[in-house]
Amino acid sequence: MYFETVAELLAMDGHGPYVWAAYGITFATLVWLVAQPLVAKRRQLRELRGFLRRTEGA
């Protein structure tokens, strides 16, 4: 461990805001990238079930 305390890790000798902002934006973007297809899949499965029920019923 390079940093002695959590406060030092957060401050990073004054570069903290930059480093943490960059990591925060990256984290948010990556989560959004994964969440999007997962949510889309759930919605799609629901729609497909309805579609199949309608076509089977006919």
Binding site: M1, Y2, F3, L9, M12, D13, G14, H15, G16, Y18, V19, A21, A22, Y23, I25, T26, T29, L30, W32, L33, V34, P37, L38, A40, K41, Q44, L45, L48, R49, F51, L52
Partner: protein, 245 residues
């Protein structure tokens, strides 16, 4: 070889195979990213010139590398879709574009944030930044063209042509921007070259690069699988798959 090729290009086969591949990609990418980022943020000593701001390298460089590789993948898929009319390649092209654009955007944003403490300004018209910016515009063009068509088959072929034209132009763009920068080189900016990177700093970088590549593959597979389900929704195997759940 041809049998293999045809098997792979069948959406159904690909759906099954990607299903077994998916958890592995997810686990590898998450593990590599978590370990690499924690290592890079907490354990590596700071750069003697740039201080702690250099830690942004562990997300900036992988994002840029995968963004470029993503365009190459997209253009290859475009070529396959145009030559052999393989539907799967078409779907890969469509699904890779927004991921690549997002990663290019990340490379630009993290680069700008890194630039502020290092160069004292958010944006520099440096050769590499400018090339990545143009790459971002190329991605935007592909997405915009695909969305503009109502007929998705035509959309796929048109975007494939554009992706190929872009791929032919990328080396020319890259080289012309380098040349342009060498003409107008400002003396005040100096950037510590990658060649001087310490091996201790390099190891976590290799981890996060692996993590980003696997992440790209993971999200790409998720998106392509959704696309397959949507396009094959009236086939028997999709019906069986949905009803068996």
């Amino acid at each position: 070889m041809w049998a293999w090729f045809h098997k792979w290009s069948s959406p159904r086969w690909f759906y099954q195979l990607s299903g077994t591949l998916l958890p592995w990609l997810a686990v590898i990418s998450l593990a590599a990213l978590i370990v690499g980022v924690a290592w890079g943020l907490m354990f590596v000593p700071p750069d003697y010139k740039q201080g702690n701001s250099f830690r942004i390298i562990y997300i900036h460089v992988p994002a840029a590398a995968v963004a470029m590789a993503g365009y190459l993948l997209m253009a290859t898929a475009g070529a396959i879709s145009l030559i052999w009319r393989i539907k799967l390649a078409d779907m890969v092209l469509k699904c890779a574009a927004p991921i690549g654009a997002a990663l290019t955007f990340l490379a630009l944003v993290t680069g700008a944030i890194w630039g502020k403490p290092t160069w004292g300004t958010w944006w520099v018209w440096d050769a590499r930044i400018t090339s990545v910016l143009v790459l971002f515009f190329l991605y935007i063009g592909i997405i915009a063209l695909y969305e503009a068509f109502d007929n998705k088959e035509a959309a796929g072929r048109a975007s494939a042509i554009l992706a190929l034209v872009g791929a032919v132009n990328i080396p020319i763009i890259y080289w012309s921007v380098e040349w342009w920068y060498s003409l107008h080189q400002p003396a005040s900016i100096s950037f510590t070259g990658e060649s001087s990177i310490h091996p201790q700093m390099l190891r976590p970088l290799l981890l996060t690069i692996t993590g980003f590549y696997c992440f790209f593959g993971w999200v790409l597979l998720l998106k392509v699988r959704n696309e397959i389900l949507h396009r094959e929704r009236s086939t028997r195997w999709v019906r069986d798959l949905i009803l068996s759940r």
